[in-house]
Amino acid sequence: MTAAVTFRSVSRHFGAVKAVDSVDLEIAEGEFFAMLGPSGSGKTTCLRLIAGFEQPDGGEISILGQSANGVPPWKRHVNTVFQDYALFPHMTILDNVAYGLMVRGVDKAARHRAAEEALELVKLGGYGARRTGQLSGGQRQRVALARALVNKPSVLLLDEPLGALDLKLREAMQEELKGLQKRLGITFVLVTHDQGEALSMADRVAVFNEGRIVQSGAPEDIYNRPKTRFVADFVGSSNILSPSLSESLSGDRRWTSLRPEAFTVDPGNGRLSLTGTIEASSFMGAVRRIALKVADTTIHANLPAGEPLPAEGTSLTLHFAPEALNPLEDAA
């Protein structure tokens, strides 16, 4: 099977800034792929390279097995949902959605029918006659989605699509996007700085930092087995144990990460332990978040809420399975 998108040591530099620095990437057809990273990490530039708004300074990009270097955006079988939606303010919703078909010369009746179907797909049937100004943020987002999908792209690019929505709408849209992707079988490439979004929706996640992919894999692997301190901290905010602290626990002198939910108050069997002073304890709903001062490190632990705990300022011993210690590749 040909890959939907392939990068071979692709670079894009803006002056001295290496926005994308020799990135290799392979996105399979029908996959929901997320590019996750802080702002300025190069994920958006990668998306723009796929869309054709940027051209690489080095390396090779191919889309569906064909080289895309030098191919303008309007000749690529790729569509984008923009962060600011970029709906055309001078057109009705229906004409917005039908735009891609219009410029390809599809006649009016056919393109309006297709646009109406696309609007129904995103649950906005009957909204075609309205203007963009008459829609809410969530509705505009759906129009942008319909406008891209009506062209039946091979790859759909989503640039921080949920960033401007409120929490409840964001959660609903996450499920909906995922469902839509599974139903249509189109390759989705999502750019986001929100690790929750990337982990919950994507089949595979690439974590970006400083223009490079630092780790890619299934959401579970990224979350449970981060390879570097950066990934461990950025994805799910792991505890990072210094080489000396790790050595005292497992005898292995190297940087190690440890998930906050790995801890229990119950000693169990063959479990390792950390003892420290409770610095802070906050109720988070399902869990209680504890900040435990162990020597000169602060360890965060998420414990099931409702479990009886000693007061702040007193000593507490927490236990965890030895397998929960995840050795990192950073030099000790």
Binding site: F53, A86, F88, P89, V103
Partner: protein
């Protein structure tokens, strides 16, 4: 009805505003009045009598028609030049970021800030050095220098308000550069271009100084009027023409005002 009272301006302000308006517009009314006077040698106040015969006299004068035709042609062609070049300048300078951009922006808007006499002398010596004889086209070029600025100023403001992702969205949906211009850029900057074009037309239509330096034997309407004032001959004809010029230039200026008035709700505000 309550708010009416609160919004009313205080009496001294009303008086000052009325005074200002009268100061600006009373002379115009005088010109209108003299267009209908029976006295044709001197401007005598009050006019000894009123007649509409000067309208007919003006209508029958071939030199008026010649000057009017020339002015309309010059204004139309200078505006057309300005629309194309001004829009291209605005598109380039509002999007791209490059070294020397500020300097080029200043150079583009300089012709409207320069006194007309400087532009006029500069063009005259440039045409002289290049051995270009003064003609219809030298007038057009002279007018285009400031018409471009008017179009540029209108277009650049609209370009800056337009979200750059609109153009990218159009490309992304399969439209090439031309289709994008036709279906996305033009509808978004159209009213600004129309307004800029109308202002440019009005400016060119009543321009005197630059024209004096760049015209050969041709007489545009304002130049013709200047000559008429010096050689008194059927004086009220000049007033009739002046009245016509006021009406002809007022329409595009009002049009430009209405077109850009609600310009706030354009592209990018949907964000």
């Amino acid at each position: 009805m309550h708010s009416d009272k609160h919004n009313r301006a205080p009496f001294p302000l009303t008086l000052a505003a009325t005074g200002g308006l009268l100061f600006l517009h009373l002379p115009l009314l005088l010109i209108f009045a003299y267009a209908f006077t029976t006295e044709d040698k001197s401007f005598q106040w009050p006019p000894p009598g009123f007649t509409t015969r000067w309208l007919a006299v003006t209508w029958a004068r071939p030199d008026v028609w010649q000057a009017l035709t020339l002015s309309l042609q010059v204004a139309a062609i200078a505006t057309a030049f300005a629309l194309i070049l001004g829009t291209l300048c605005a598109a380039a300078l509002s999007r791209a970021r490059f070294f020397g951009q500020e300097a080029i922006t200043l150079l583009v808007i300089l012709p409207i800030a320069l006194p007309g006499i400087v532009t006029g002398i500069a063009l005259r010596s440039a045409f002289g050095m290049m051995n270009i004889p003064f003609s219809f086209w030298t007038i057009v070029l002279g007018h285009a220098t400031f018409c471009i600025v008017v179009v540029y100023n209108n277009a650049v403001a609209r370009f800056r308000r337009m979200s750059p992702s609109l153009v990218e969205a159009s490309y992304d949906l399969g439209a090439n550069g031309f289709q994008t211009f036709r279906h996305v850029i033009l509808p978004n900057i159209g009213t600004a271009l129309l307004a800029g074009g109308m202002l440019a037309f009005a400016l060119s239509f009543d321009e005197v100084i630059v024209t004096t330096f760049t015209a050969g034997q041709q007489q545009t309407l304002p130049i013709w009027m200047l000559e008429e004032l010096i050689r008194p001959h059927e004086r009220p004809v000049t007033n009739v023409v002046a009245m016509a010029v006021v009406l002809v230039t007022l329409i595009p200026i009002l049009g430009a005002y209405y077109l850009t008035r609600d310009g706030a709700e354009t592209a990018g505000s949907g964000k």
